[in-house]
Chain length 268, copies 3
């Protein structure tokens, strides 16, 4: 496992030195590791956003990539640190659910509770396990490759689920789970779920956001509406997005994260 | 072309996972590619800013660097994807002009319309060609090195030009094309153009910004005026800047991007 | 010194192309250098913040790492450029104190004034020495490894000190020297100083911030208080922090950088 790839996903931001410190710890242990940032801009302590980013990103990385995630509101409590081996990847992070969607999407093979202190920095703080536990474990894993070295297998670990899409005979209720830099409102409604529901795909959706009903064209690219107009589309992660062509749907609709998106079925 | 260098310039920001995903795609195809960020902070859809950054950055990179640019308001429309071979570099991006200033500054040798779907991800989305087309093409180019593999040469492609500097017998009219983190107002007036205009370089410029006239000393370093004071200077990219010594000229002058900067000649 | 590691710490932000340009300069000279970002989010011209980040980060990097720092309000003035060899590292930057705390913490062996123009870019600007002097010197040092090549040793160079903690028989007066993304108020009171002062560590501190007295529990992890509550703790850098459990102490206390933190001793 030479020139191992480690990705980092944290809520540390890039203004502070915390991410730079974690990279130093990794390089001091595994000098030829290659380190890539998935994002450090996760909203503070937001496990849902971290889980969503990770789910969307991992499959584009090479086999054996080590995905290191530190979104860790419970640092210093008795929450466990875990290491997951899935079919293609390794995941390291706190056992608070942030790893679960991505790991399960790849097929979980083994979950280990990280407990072997031989691989921690010494001393360890109770406020920065990213530096003292997760980064050194990732670097040692890159060299060793065997997850059993780090602790014992566990059968139960924390699962995270997106809020459920609700479906009735007259409407689907979905939720905005992420708003990206472009103001795209990304919902939890997957293309798969949507296509199982409709007999034939509608060309216009009757959508209610913020208690206001609108007819929004269903498109396959942004450019199918005029600049500044709103559309609905299955985005690059195959979730339904409410978007604007070169405009922010979030601004146009005053819609925020966790907003309810109702899709009425009656008219079609 | 081992250990090829690929630079990334996008308007994706670093908060979302989009840039991390593109890096994964590149590494999955070209495992030993080295990837460097030029910037991901381009204003959304701002082709001028992207063109300016690229023009200023490329010449500092080693020969054969692949510059991958995704500022792509027309994604999913019929705008073309292009690959440019210039004297020292390769450029990949949408055919919307964002590549043209930089590529021409290095001497364009060949422009190819990217059309060979063998090098795309499969399936491709209509919303994220950075991931599905541009990143994989860059990674394959790093391995193959021959631009003809990706499509046919084209003779016409989209050119971008900065707004023109206007020159009369009594004044020069330039425009603020970028404001950096320090509040420096960077104009489109190049040192070359300026020096062709004046017989001898003035020590003070009569400058009108926001309809207000000011005398601003012409300096060769920030420290030639007192802390907090305004100066004019040819910056690191050889464009005229209105700057402050340890102060933001943008704040001091309430000047914004695209502001008109008039330089009066009569008094000298 | 193959595959040398160079870290970058600047106040350039990541929106502009400046950091990307510096990386290009380094790669053009030292093609196999590995470059890592400590941070580019230092407040503009804030030498104290840069010194603090550097002090906290360097010891986690491998021996022989070259730490390149460009927080340089005096660029273009007669401030010197220096190169420091310490026991384990190299430091390159302006002689304004930003390097001094970190270099001294590692044991300074030699300080060289950078003056050999053979290693500068040509021409050099007076506004961007990060690109024209510091980056090329770092890259050449990575190849050469001998600091004497770059100029003559100097005996005097600029020292930076944090504001002093004041201690009387009845109170300690410390200062907030950094507020991180989580709103933690990091003070200049080190654990070492604190422990030399108290006979036995108190369980609650009588703290006065913004002229308001509070009793704040002294904890070893955030989770020892309820979510949203305030605590005091020695953080990952061993300085006293006023923090919130999953909440911003900065917001809760309306405390800003440089705020005075008084710790009363009488009650214990």
């Amino acid at each position: 496992m030479n020139q191992a790839i480690i990705t980092l996903l944290t809520d540390f931001g890039t203004r502070d030195h915390y991410v730079g410190v974690m990279k130093g710890v990794i390089l001091s242990i595994c000098s030829d590791c290659r380190i890539f940032d998935l994002s450090h801009g996760i909203e503070k302590h937001n496990i849902q956003e971290g889980a969503f980013f990770l789910l969307n990103a991992i499959k584009y990385y090479p086999k054996n990539t080590i995905h290191l995630v530190v979104i860790d509101p419970g640092v210093g409590s008795d929450r466990r640190a875990i290491l997951i081996q899935s079919q293609n990847f390794f995941f390291i992070g706190p056992d608070n659910g942030v790893l679960s969607l991505a790991a399960k999407s790849d097929g979980v093979e083994k979950v280990v509770e990280i407990s072997n202190r031989d691989f921690y920095l010494n001393p360890i703080s109770d406020t920065f396990h990213g530096r003292d536990i997760f980064a050194p474990v990732a670097a040692h894993l890159a060299k060793i490759g065997a997850v059993d070295t780090f602790g014992k297998s566990v059968n139960t670990w924390t699962q995270f689920e997106f809020p459920k899409v609700k479906m009735s005979e007259t409407e689907i209720t979905a939720y905005v789970i992420h708003i990206d830099r472009f103001g795209n409102l990304i919902t939890n409604l997957s293309k798969e779920l949507f296509e199982g529901y409709w007999r034939s795909q509608p060309s216009v959706l009757d959508i209610e956001i913020n208690n206001k009903a609108r007819k929004i064209p269903m498109c396959s690219s942004y450019s199918q509406v005029r600049k500044g107009e709103i559309l609905s589309i299955f985005g690059s992660g195959n979730f339904l997005e409410i978007s604007g062509n070169q405009a922010s749907a979030s601004d146009l609709l005053s819609a925020k994260i966790r907003a309810e998106v109702k899709i009425k079925l009656s008219k079609h």
